[in-house]
C-alpha cells in the first residue's frame, strides 16, 4: 500500500496528537460546564461534532490543496453570496443575525467564511508574489478581505470580523508586505478605534454600534463599574479563574461553574471553567498544547512546497492565534468581550467543523510538502 505508507510517513503526528488532546480537554471541560444545564448533554453532542470534524479532516486529505487555488474565484463569489444570504434570511441569536437553519442543525456561515477567505486571499497573494512593497499594492488586498468582512460586520459580528483582519495581517506579513506599513496601519487602526469609541461615548461622533456591543467592547477596562450588568461576565470569569489558584478546585468542583455564575461557560467562557477547576497547571497545559499546535502550523507554512501552501497555513495560524488570544484574553479581562470561541475547546458544531477543516488543510499541506509526491 504505497499511498498509505506515504501518508503515514508524511503525516504530522505531533499536530494530530496535539489537536486530539485539545479536543479531549474541551469535551471534559464541557461535560463539567453543562452539568447544571437541563436537558441537553452538550458534551455528548460535542463528541459527535468532534467525530464529524475528524471525518471532514480526513476527507480534506483526498484532494490536492493546490487545486483550491484554481477555484479561488468561484470560492470567493460563493463565499460572498453565502454571507449575503445570511444577511437576508439569517436567524437572530443574541442580537446578531449569523445563523442559517438547515433542518435540524443551524450553521454559522461566518465560521466557514474564514476558511474561504484564507484560501482566496492566499491565492491572490501568491499570484502577486513580491509586488506588495508599495503601500498602494495593499489597497486591493483590503478590498479583497473587506467585502466579505463587511457582511459579517453587518450581522453584526465584530469578533469574527476582527478574525478576518488578523488573518489578513498575518498573511500580508508573510506574503511580502513591508512590516513597517503593517505596523503603521495597525497603530492607525487601533488609534481610530479607540478614539472613535471615546468620541462616541462623549457624544462627538456617532458610530453605527448598538449599546450592548459598545459596552461589551469597553467594559474590560473597568468591569467593576457595572458588576451586575455589562461587567458581570468578566468579573465572574476572573473570579472563576483566580479562585482556581495553582492546582484548581478539582474537575467538576468549580463552584462558579456549577452554580451557574459563569455565563456561556460551555462556549465562550470555557477557559474560565478550565482555570477554575484545573488551576494554573491545567490552564498552562491547554495553552501549551495550543502553542504546539500553532508552532506546528508555522512549521508547515515554512515547509510547504509552494507559496500558496505557505500562505494558507499562515492564514490558518493567524486565525487560530487571534481566536486563542482574544478568547483567553477576554476571560482574564485583557481583551474586550467579542464572543468568539476557543478553537477545538468551546462547544459548537460549526466552529468545530471549521477548525477541523483548517487542521485538515494544514495536514494536507504538510502531506504534500515534497515537490514530488504520488
Amino acid at each position: 500500500m504505497f499511498v498509505e505508507r506515504k501518508i503515514l510517513k508524511n503525516m504530522d503526528w505531533t499536530l494530530l496528537v496535539t489537536i486530539l488532546l485539545i479536543i479531549s480537554f474541551g469535551i471534559i471541560s464541557i461535560s463539567s460546564a453543562i452539568t447544571v444545564k437541563s436537558g441537553v448533554d452538550y458534551w455528548e453532542k460535542q463528541i459527535l461534532w468532534a467525530l464529524v470534524g475528524l471525518v471532514v479532516m480526513v476527507l480534506v486529505q483526498i484532494f490536492h490543496y493546490e487545486d483550491l487555488a484554481k477555484g479561488a474565484k468561484i470560492i470567493y463569489v460563493l463565499n460572498v453570496l453565502m454571507l449575503a444570504l445570511v444577511a437576508i434570511i439569517g436567524r437572530e441569536a443574541k442580537g446578531a443575525e449569523s445563523w442559517i437553519n438547515l433542518g435540524p442543525v443551524a450553521i454559522q456561515p461566518s465560521e466557514f467564511a474564514k476558511i474561504f477567505v484564507i484560501i482566496t486571499f492566499a491565492s491572490y497573494l501568491s499570484q502577486k508574489q513580491g509586488e506588495l512593497r508599495k503601500f498602494r499594492d495593499l489597497i486591493p488586498c483590503f478590498i479583497h478581505v473587506g467585502i466579505p468582512m463587511i457582511f459579517i460586520l453587518a450581522q453584526p459580528d465584530l469578533g469574527t470580523a476582527l478574525v478576518f483582519v488578523a488573518i489578513m495581517f498575518g498573511m500580508l506579513f508573510v506574503g511580502g508586505a513591508r512590516p513597517l506599513y503593517l505596523i503603521l496601519i495597525i497603530i492607525f487602526g487601533l488609534t481610530m478605534a479607540i478614539g472613535g469609541v471615546y468620541l462616541h461615548q462623549n457624544g462627538v461622533v456617532s458610530l453605527p454600534l448598538k449599546e450592548h456591543q459598545l459596552e461589551r467592547l469597553t467594559i474590560f477596562t473597568n468591569p467593576e463599574s457595572d458588576p451586575r450588568g455589562a461587567g458581570y461576565q468578566v468579573l465572574q470569569s476572573q473570579i472563576a479563574i483566580g479562585s482556581g489558584g495553582i492546582s484548581g478546585k478539582g474537575l467538576y468542583k468549580g463552584t462558579q461553574n456549577k452554580y451557574d455564575f459563569l455565563p456561556e461557560d460551555h462556549t465562550d467562557f470555557i477557559f474560565s471553567v478550565i482555570g477554575e477547576e484545573l488551576g494554573f497547571v491545567g490552564s498552562t497545559i491547554v495553552l501549551g498544547l495550543m502553542f504546539i499546535m500553532l508552532h506546528r502550523g508555522i512549521r508547515i507554512a515554512a515547509e510547504a512546497k509552494d507559496f500558496f501552501g505557505t500562505l494558507v497555513a499562515t492564514g490558518i495560524v493567524s486565525m487560530f492565534l487571534f481566536h486563542i488570544f482574544e478568547n483567553v484574553g477576554m476571560t482574564v479581562s485583557l481583551m474586550p468581550i467579542t464572543g468568539i470561541p476557543l478553537p477545538l475547546v468551546s462547544y459548537g458544531g460549526s466552529s468545530m467543523v471549521t477548525n477541523m477543516i483548517s487542521v485538515g488543510l494544514l495536514l494536507n499541506i504538510y502531506l504534500r510538502r515534497q515537490k514530488i509526491m504520488f
Binding site: F173, G242, G244, T255, L287, F291, V332
Partner: protein, 672 residues
C-alpha cells in the same frame, strides 16, 4: 520570494505567537498566584447566603387567655419564570388564571410589577389563598410549569374587625421608612420585606412581639436558588402579650356602639362614629376600649391599592376608621362639670349653697341660657350635677374664676397624654388666657395678612390700568382708606379674640368652648373621682410572657398623680353623680332598673352651627365600692344620655354580667 525571507518572517511570526502566549499565561498566573485568595472569597460570597428564618411573632391574649392575635400558615401561589420557557408563558398564565379563578391580566400584572431586584425569585401571584385553590393548583400541576404553592407564616386576627385600634396591624414598610427604622434601631434584625407593627399594640410592643430571626446558611446558584443547606440557627419566637382587656366586655362595647349609633341614625344621620372605654378605677387597667368605625387588621397584610385606601381607610374620609377615638379629643360638654364642682368646693364653695336658676344667666348685658329654658329652680351642688344646671356653673365660674377651673382640670390629668401604651394619643387642651392669646394671635395675624394683601392686590391691578395720573391718585387714596379701615377691624378683633372674656369663663365652666379632652382622659378623671383622688396611668398590657411560657415582665399599675382634693369634696361630687342616674337625674331613664348603683354624668358638646351635638357620658360603678369607670362618646349623636349613656350601660352590664333592658330613650339632641 526567497525561501530564506519566508523562513525569517515565519521565525518572527513564531516569536510573536510565543510572546502573546507568554502574555496570556502571565495574566492567568498573575490572577491565580497573587489573587487566588481574594477571588476565592468572592466566589464564596457568590454562592453562600444567609437566609433569614422569620421568628414566630408573639401572640396577644386577653385577660382570660383568649387569643386575640395569632399566626397562621398562609398558602401563596407563586410562579417561577426561570423554570418557564418564554413561549410557554402565555399558555401557563391563561391556565393558571382559569385554575385559581382570576382574570389572566391579573397574573400578567403580578409578573410585570415584580421589582427588578427580585426578578430571580418567584413572583407571588396570589397570597393567602383558600385550601380549595391550593388543591386545584395541585391537581393541575402538570399543566402549570413553574407554578408552586409556598407556605408563609402570617399574622392572623381571628375576630377580624375586633378591637383593631387596640391590637393594631402589621404592614410591610417602604424603603424610606425601613431606612429610618434601621437608623433608629441599628441592632434590630429587620429585613426590608418584614412587616412591622404599624398601629396599636402591634406597634408599641413591636420589639417584644417580633422575636429574633434565625438564619439558614445556604449555597445558591446564580439565580439565587438554594442548592444545598449548610447549617441553621433557630429563630427565637417573640413574646406573648397578656392584656388587661376582657374579650367579652370588648365585644359588648363594640356591639353597643354599633347598635346605638344605628338606632340614633334615624334622627341624627351623622351618628356614625363613637368610642367607649372601660377602666379599672383601682389600677388603671383598661378592660374595654372600642372605637367605631373600625377595620379588619387582616386586610393590611396584603398591599392595599390607592383607590381602596382612599375609599376605605384614608384619614381624609368623613369618619376615618383608623382613628382610635378614645385617644382623639372632643369638647367634654357637661361631663366637665365635676371639674368645676371640685374646683368650687376646694375654693370654699359651700355644698349646700343654693343658686336660683331662672333659665338664663346675665353677663355683660347678654343672657346665657340654661339648656332647660324654663330653669331648674333652686339648685345646690348635688342637684346641679343631677340636672346638669348650666346657670349654677356660670355662677361658680364667675365666682372662682377660670384659672382655678383650669388648675383642677390639669390636676385630673385633662389636657395631657395619659401615657397609655398606644401610638397617636392626643393631649387636648385646657383653655386659659395664655393659651387663648397664643392660639388666636397668630391665627388673627395670618388672617389679616391675607386680607391686607387682598386689598393691595386688588388695587395694584386697578392702579396699573388707570387711564391718567388723577385717577391713579384717587385709587391710591381709596386703597389707603380701605386698609386703614381693615386695621381698625383688626384692633377690635384682636381685643376680642386674644383677651380672655367673661363668656370664655362661662363656656369653660360648663365644658364648652375650647376644652378638648379624650374619652380616655375623661374615663381616667372619672376613675380618680371614684377612687378618692388617685390618677392611675391607664394600661393595656398586664404581662409579657416568653416563648417558654415564663414571665418576662409584669407591668405594675402606675400612679400618675394624686388629685389635690379632699376625700369629702370628692364624695360630695360622687353623690351628685349618683343622683344623675336616680329619679330626676339626666340619666335616670337609662339606668332605671339597672341592678347596680351607677354614678355618672351626661354631656352634650356643641360642635358648631349646622351640626348635631356630640353625646357623651362618663360614670363609675358600683357607687358604694367603685370598680370601674366608663367614658363614651357618639359623634354628632345628639344628647349624651340617649347615646353614650346607653352604650355605657351596656358595657357596665357586660362587665358586671347583669341583664339590662333594651330601653328606648328619647333623644332630643340636648341635655336630658
Amino acid at each position: 520570494m526567497e525561501a530564506k525571507v519566508i523562513q525569517r518572517k515565519l521565525n518572527i511570526f513564531t516569536a510573536i505567537v510565543f510572546i502573546l502566549f507568554l502574555v496570556l499565561i502571565g495574566r492567568v498566573g498573575y490572577l491565580q498566584f497573587f489573587f487566588a485568595e481574594k477571588f476565592n472569597l468572592e466566589s464564596m460570597s457568590n454562592r453562600l447566603r444567609m437566609v433569614a428564618v422569620p421568628a414566630a411573632r408573639g401572640e396577644i391574649k386577653d385577660r382570660n387567655g383568649n387569643i386575640l392575635v395569632k399566626n397562621k400558615q398562609a398558602y401563596n401561589i407563586s410562579l417561577s419564570l426561570i423554570d418557564l420557557q418564554k413561549e410557554d408563558r402565555p399558555r401557563v398564565y391563561q391556565r393558571l388564571a382559569e385554575v385559581v379563578g382570576i382574570p389572566v391580566n391579573e397574573v400578567e400584572r403580578a409578573v410585570y410589577e415584580q421589582p427588578v431586584n427580585q426578578r430571580h425569585e418567584p413572583v407571588i401571584i396570589l397570597s393567602d389563598v383558600s385550601f380549595d385553590i391550593v388543591t386545584r393548583v395541585e391537581e393541575h400541576k402538570n399543566e402549570l410549569d413553574g407554578v408552586s404553592v409556598d407556605v408563609e407564616p402570617i399574622r392572623y386576627y381571628p375576630y377580624g374587625d375586633f378591637a383593631p385600634h387596640v391590637l393594631g396591624y402589621l404592614r410591610q414598610v417602604g424603603d424610606e421608612e425601613y431606612n429610618a427604622f434601621k437608623e433608629k434601631y441599628p441592632d434590630e434584625q429587620y429585613r426590608p420585606s418584614d412587616r412591622f407593627g404599624r398601629a396599636g399594640l402591634e406597634k408599641t410592643f413591636e420589639s417584644e412581639l417580633h422575636g429574633l430571626d434565625g438564619a439558614r446558611r445556604i449555597e445558591i446558584n446564580s439565580r439565587g436558588r438554594a442548592v444545598r443547606e449548610l447549617g441553621i440557627k433557630d429563630p427565637t419566637p417573640g413574646n406573648d402579650l397578656l392584656l388587661t382587656l376582657d374579650k367579652d366586655v370588648q365585644v359588648a362595647a363594640e356591639q353597643a356602639l354599633v347598635r346605638t349609633m344605628e338606632r340614633v341614625q334615624k334622627e341624627f344621620k351623622n351618628a356614625k362614629a363613637g368610642a367607649v372605654v372601660l377602666i379599672d378605677v383601682r389600677t388603671g387597667a383598661i378592660i374595654a376600649m372600642a372605637s367605631k368605625p373600625g377595620y379588619d387588621p387582616n386586610r393590611f397584610l396584603k398591599p392595599i391599592p390607592a383607590q381602596e385606601w382612599n375609599t376605605n381607610f384614608s384619614d381624609n374620609l368623613p369618619f376615618p376608621p383608623l382613628l382610635n377615638r378614645n385617644l382623639q379629643v372632643y369638647p367634654p360638654g357637661s361631663t366637665f362639670k365635676m371639674v368645676t364642682a371640685v374646683a368650687a368646693l376646694e375654693n370654699g364653695w359651700h355644698p349646700e349653697r343654693e343658686i336660683r336658676d331662672p333659665g338664663y344667666f346675665m353677663s355683660g348685658g347678654r343672657a346665657f341660657k340654661c339648656w332647660n329654658i324654663r330653669g331648674h329652680g333652686t339648685v345646690d351642688l348635688e342637684k346641679s350635677l343631677q340636672v346638669s344646671c348650666n346657670v349654677f356653673y356660670f355662677n361658680v365660674g364667675r365666682t372662682i374664676g377660670h384659672e382655678k377651673i383650669a388648675q383642677y382640670a390639669r390636676a385630673f390629668g385633662l389636657g395631657e397624654k395619659t401615657g397609655v401604651s398606644l401610638p397617636s394619643e392626643m393631649d387636648g387642651n385646657v383653655p386659659d388666657s395664655k393659651w387663648k392669646k397664643e392660639v388666636n394671635e397668630s391665627l388673627l395675624n395670618n388672617r389679616y395678612k391675607r386680607i391686607y394683601q387682598q386689598v393691595e392686590d386688588e388695587y395694584a391691578e386697578k392702579i396699573n390700568k388707570a387711564a391718567n395720573p388723577e385717577e391713579k391718585e384717587k385709587l391710591v387714596k381709596e386703597r389707603d382708606r380701605k386698609l386703614a379701615n381693615k386695621r381698625e377691624w383688626y384692633r377690635i378683633e384682636y381685643d376680642f379674640n386674644t383677651k380672655w372674656q367673661h363668656f370664655d369663663t362661662l363656656n369653660m365652666s360648663i365644658g364648652q368652648g375650647n376644652n378638648l379632652y379624650s374619652p380616655l382622659q375623661l374615663a381616667n378623671f372619672t376613675a380618680a373621682i371614684a377612687n378618692g383622688g388617685t390618677l392611675w396611668k391607664p394600661y393595656l398590657v398586664d404581662k409579657i410572657i416568653g416563648p417558654d411560657g415564663g414571665l418576662v415582665k409584669e407591668l405594675k399599675p402606675e400612679v400618675l398623680k394624686k388629685v389635690p382634693a379632699s376625700a369629702n369634696n370628692l364624695a360630695l361630687v360622687r353623690k351628685g353623680m349618683l343622683a344623675v342616674t336616680q329619679p330626676g337625674g339626666t340619666a335616670a331613664g337609662i339606668f332605671a332598673g339597672f341592678p347596680i348603683k351607677v354614678a355618672g354624668k351626661t354631656g352634650t358638646a356643641q360642635t358648631g352651627k349646622d351640626r348635631d351635638n356630640h353625646g357623651l357620658f362618663v360614670g363609675f360603678a358600683p357607687y358604694d365600692n367603685p370598680q370601674v369607670a366608663v367614658a363614651a362618646i357618639v359623634e354628632y349623636g345628639g344628647s349624651g344620655g340617649a347615646t353614650a349613656g346607653v352604650i355605657s350601660r351596656e358595657v357596665l352590664a357586660a362587665y358586671f354580667k347583669v341583664k339590662t333592658e333594651q330601653k328606648e330613650v328619647v333623644n332630643r339632641g340636648m341635655e336630658e
